[in-house]
């Protein structure tokens, strides 16, 4: 495009509105390995002591145990979302079901519906089933709340697979199940990867459900762990320590995002043709 305008004022304008974010994220990284004198903005010395919590459990408690718990939560939720939405989406996309349109509309509404409002009802369900205060309950709830999204995404990927592949398999004498497993699943692999990463990230970042539905659980996840740090400290905040724990907590997210960026954009972009 021709440049019949001046870029500089506009760059200045977007820099200005982005400034809070740039400052916050800039100092997030900077503060984890420096110290600033009280009342000053700029750090004056380099230090690694904010990262001591990795080896020394006396600083903030056992961060590795919390990491393990977060990993369990995120991975099990990923398994639930992946397995249930790949099967259900295939059924909705390709198999003959009674009330198929009704299911579709229902899943669309659930996908759009803000699931947080159900939290009080979910609390009752867990109470009645005895799953309150257990990580299993949190995993099931988190997985279930993500299902409509997962089914919808996977349905989009199945819909894009040509019918001919399936027809060929069926005519060679394979059962519908075999066709799905051997022929169709490999076709939707990009969708599986994207949904898997996406649900892992979602589970990894989750704070509300573990905090509310399993407050007395032995298994503290990293998000709750990190927030308890900041809630527990009544006297002056040691933000540099919190930030170091926070960066440690966020590194896997950034890493996964960088690795899978294009696949994730699949979900954003063309992969979900209805």
């Amino acid at each position: 495009m021709t440049r019949n305008f001046s870029t500089i004022p506009l760059i200045l304008a977007i820099t200005l509105v982005s400034l809070p974010l740039m400052v916050m994220y800039g100092f997030l990284i900077l503060d984890t390995f420096t110290d600033a004198p009280p009342g000053e903005l700029w750090p004056d010395r380099f230090t690694l002591e904010h990262w001591r919590f990795l080896f020394d459990t006396s600083v903030v408690g056992n961060v590795w145990a919390a990491t393990g718990n977060s990993l369990i939560l995120a991975l099990s939720m990923m398994v639930i979302v992946l397995s249930l939405s790949t099967t259900a989406a295939y059924a909705i996309s390709r198999l003959h079901l009674p009330y198929r349109r009704f299911f579709l509309a229902g899943i669309m509404v659930m996908h759009a519906f803000p699931a947080v409002t159900l939290l009080i009802g979910v609390f009752f369900v867990l109470n009645f089933t005895g799953l309150y205060n257990s990580m299993i309950g949190v995993i099931l709830v988190k997985g279930a709340l993500m299902l409509p999204f997962g089914i919808w995404i996977m349905k989009g990927f199945y819909d894009a697979v040509p019918w001919e592949i399936e027809m060929a398999g069926v005519q060679d004498g394979a059962s519908r199940f075999t066709v799905w497993r051997r022929l169709i699943l490999p076709q939707v692999k990009p969708g599986l990867v994207a949904l898997g990463v996406f649900s892992f990230l979602d589970g990894w970042g989750e704070y509300l459900l573990p905090r509310i539905l399993a407050p007395g659980s032995e298994m503290t996840v990293l998000s709750v762990f990190l927030n308890e740090l900041i809630a527990a400290d009544q006297l002056g905040y040691d933000f540099n320590l919190f930030k170091s724990v926070g960066v440690f907590y966020t590194l896997p997210v950034i890493l996964l995002f960088v690795i899978f960026q294009n696949r994730l954009m699949n979900i954003f972009g063309g992969g979900t043709k209805g």
Binding site: T7, V17, M22, V23, G39, L41, A91, L118
Partner: protein, 461 residues
Amino acid sequence: MMSSFAKPMTDGTARATRRPTRRKARGHVSGLGLLMMAPALIMLLAFFFTPVALTGVFAFTDLSTSTGIGRGTFVITPTDLRQLRDRGLTEDEALAISAATYSVDDAGLAAARAAGADAAFVDQIAERLTGESYEDQRDFERVLRDLPAAPRSPRAIKSAAEAFGQSVLNRRHETRDALAAQLDATAPDLSDAVRDMVLDASYTGAVFTTENFTRLATQPETGRLIANTALYVGATLSVFNVGLGLFLAIVLFYMPKPVTGFFSTVWLLPRITPVVLYTIMWKWFTWEDGFLPILAEQVGLPSFNYMKGSVVTAWMTMISVNGFIGASFGLILFSGALRAIPVQQLWASEVDGATRLQQVRRIILPQMRWPILFVTAYQTLSLLSSYEQIWLTTNGGPGKTTTVWALEAFKTALSNYSGNLEYGMGAAMALILVVVGLALSIIYLMIFKFGELVSRPKIEF
């Protein structure tokens, strides 16, 4: 090669013979399909539909921590009597119910010993008075005083007498009939209507009531909650999600690639940062001794805890915290929509000598109508129901000035420090959100249609 040519031949015949059966097969239900749907359906039933139904049911109860979630018991408390007096219980009836009778039995003797009465005195009571019963405390005390082993002090006599007292008050009964029997024994003169009223009031479990909604409709706080919610959703949406999101998208659309890449990454960060870290960063940014207060102090502006220190700054903080995530969503969506505009239109306008501003106003903005409508609809829904960021930052404060509907519902039912969680009231508030949410999602599905919804990126990242 040969086989692949040969195959369609046989396939062709096979297809011809199979077609009728296939059509028949499509006519009946796929068992595999049901099997594949079942696990997902069970999960959705358990954690989507049941919660909705339970929210609906419990919205019409007074369920709370004090009633407990299980079945309640029957107990008349002095508080019950005081409250019943407003509903027509007379002074005499209240006195009759709370009156105590004094009978000497094993339980009373044990209580007297536990209360520290003289052992010889208690033995004498057991010996001479077992089985006796007195209506009036003064009569009983007189009898006690006449015993040879009675202590001198009137206080000791009084406390010994009280140990034998039996009142219907504060005694827990498993069933209504058990309490009714005791009530009849204590206050036989009550009329049936009064008796039933007292028994109803004595139930500690949850009961069905529309009180939650009456309370919501009448209390002045509801109005403020609605006003707060409207201000929060309106300001966040217009300033950030749509306003800033659109501005960034259009400016970045015209920028050279490195600039676009850099700012796109910066604006993606709030979306992928876990919410706890994101709110900690905002705390650092606005808390006393944080970035902005220090900066303000250095340039001589008022410096205090901006997140909680004043109503205006608390609002600004809370809207920005949510707004930066919202703007990020808007930016992703609008950028996608901008790339879909045929670039020939822009070239043509440039040939005709249009300025950038004219291009934006006449070509781009009119084509952004649907994306803007979508962001508005979709984000209204999520802003109405989300409270995680508010909870973790201003927590509705200072006072209740930044409390929105969803946060208040959540706090009423699940997270307050007074100790009494009002599940019923919280469910009633949540039910209103659920109804609004359902209505809005159905409306916006109808506006955007199936295809429209899925052809664009609609993920909250």
